[in-house]
Symmetry: C2
Subunit: 257 residues, 2 copies
Amino acid sequence: MNYSTSDSPTSKCSVCVLGQFCLPVGLNAADVTRIDALVKERVHLQKGENLYRHGDPLSAVYSVRFGTLKTEYCLPDGRQQVIGFHLPGEILGLDGIGEGHYQSDALALEESEVCIIRFEAFESLAQEIPVLQHQFHRIMSRELTQDQRHLLSLGTMRAEERLATFLLNLSQRLAARGYLNNEFDLRMSRVEIGSYLGIQIETVSRMLSRFSESGLIQIKQRHIKLIDMNGLYELAGIPNPDRSASACSPDARIKKI
Amino acid sequence: MNYSTSDSPTSKCSVCVLGQFCLPVGLNAADVTRIDALVKERVHLQKGENLYRHGDPLSAVYSVRFGTLKTEYCLPDGRQQVIGFHLPGEILGLDGIGEGHYQSDALALEESEVCIIRFEAFESLAQEIPVLQHQFHRIMSRELTQDQRHLLSLGTMRAEERLATFLLNLSQRLAARGYLNNEFDLRMSRVEIGSYLGIQIETVSRMLSRFSESGLIQIKQRHIKLIDMNGLYELAGIPNPDRSASACSPDARIKKI
DNA sequence: CGCTTTATTGAGAGATATCAATACTTGTGG
DNA sequence: CCACAAGTATTGATATCTCTCAATAAAGCG
């Protein structure tokens, strides 16, 4: 773990390309400068390095600058589950605010760098900048929504649907960051995907092979091409956002459980 | 749905017994008075009534005053899943902040009342009261942690463990609110429990019967007695908080996936 | 009191887990 | 540069848990 403090121009929030996903959303230039002053430290992580461990006292939350991280929970009996994968611009460590120490473990899936947002100082600044406060609330709320959609996946979907949903979710998040949305490298192992989706590694492998045979994807090791996006969306049971489609219709909602 | 506005002494935050779980935690008397002024409206709900539906624009978040509510997500194909059950003092509607409209449906499982916290006004007040801002962050963070533990349950546990975890979680939350922790009424149907736990109603029923035969619980309809708490904790794979026990030990963590 | 909803229990089917063998990658050292 | 080892992924065969279908029972409600 490699700490650094820097005022170099390229590392400021005010010029960071991730600003549109990160804390500064909605802020004017003057206020972004105040964030610049707050977020001066970074951590450089090698693959496999921990950013924090559960139980560590919360002193900061982090935003991913580059790379990919995972967070996971563990059970006393040693079982673990991957809870999330974190791409550039996403915030980590929010689960630590409630009790003052992190509830999860966070570690890098590849060489990564995260910005350190000292939480006490951040709250003070948010106190002074309403837009920043609101943006932080939006970020936490979206995190909640993300987890709740994940719950929906684990609770109601079969393995095939979960995997399709996962691939599409990743694709959308990459697209939003300006990467290719139909061809990318999976930074996580099959084991980690399985853990995230609540299925075994063998099932992940079989489903990927099945997708490949069906012409939905091409996969070679961790490099994946999404060939038939519509097919994947159909499998996932969610409408393709590229082609209209309404969400859960009022009609569908009448049949309450 | 029955709106009311009231200044009656019994409905003020400053005298509400739920203050210790709700927004006012940590506030001094003067500041609680300012919350009193903010939270003047309430909604009274009959069993089955919606508090909000997904897609409704967010204008407020809500805290449960009495009763029980559930929130659920629906899939375009009509499948639904219960995401959470909400007891007095808990906050609902947080998933609406991210996009400006609720992502879930919320409805009452029994006659309930919730306090309306106009969100815009709330953010303004939080802007002025640092402790309030921090408390709100803690609430959102705990909500995240709750969902993430739920993910752990759906992703790694078998039906029996999920159910035991669910009963114990409910028990703990009731205990914190001063209710009996070993004997209570389930406000939700077997179907709703199953949906929440990602298992079928028949499985819920069978597991409850099994628990009953093992002497872990006594159950008659929706009235349940937890007889052997330690046994349940053991089944759930989590240490009984009443008897020391460390969480996930460093040793257990070495065996990373 | 009968009707509707909710819950229990049984039998069989099916999806995924588990166990096991093989193949492929990557990294290391001769 | 190749051989070997360790880690990672694929594929097959079988086991198991939970689902599905079905029948019955109990409870809530008008």
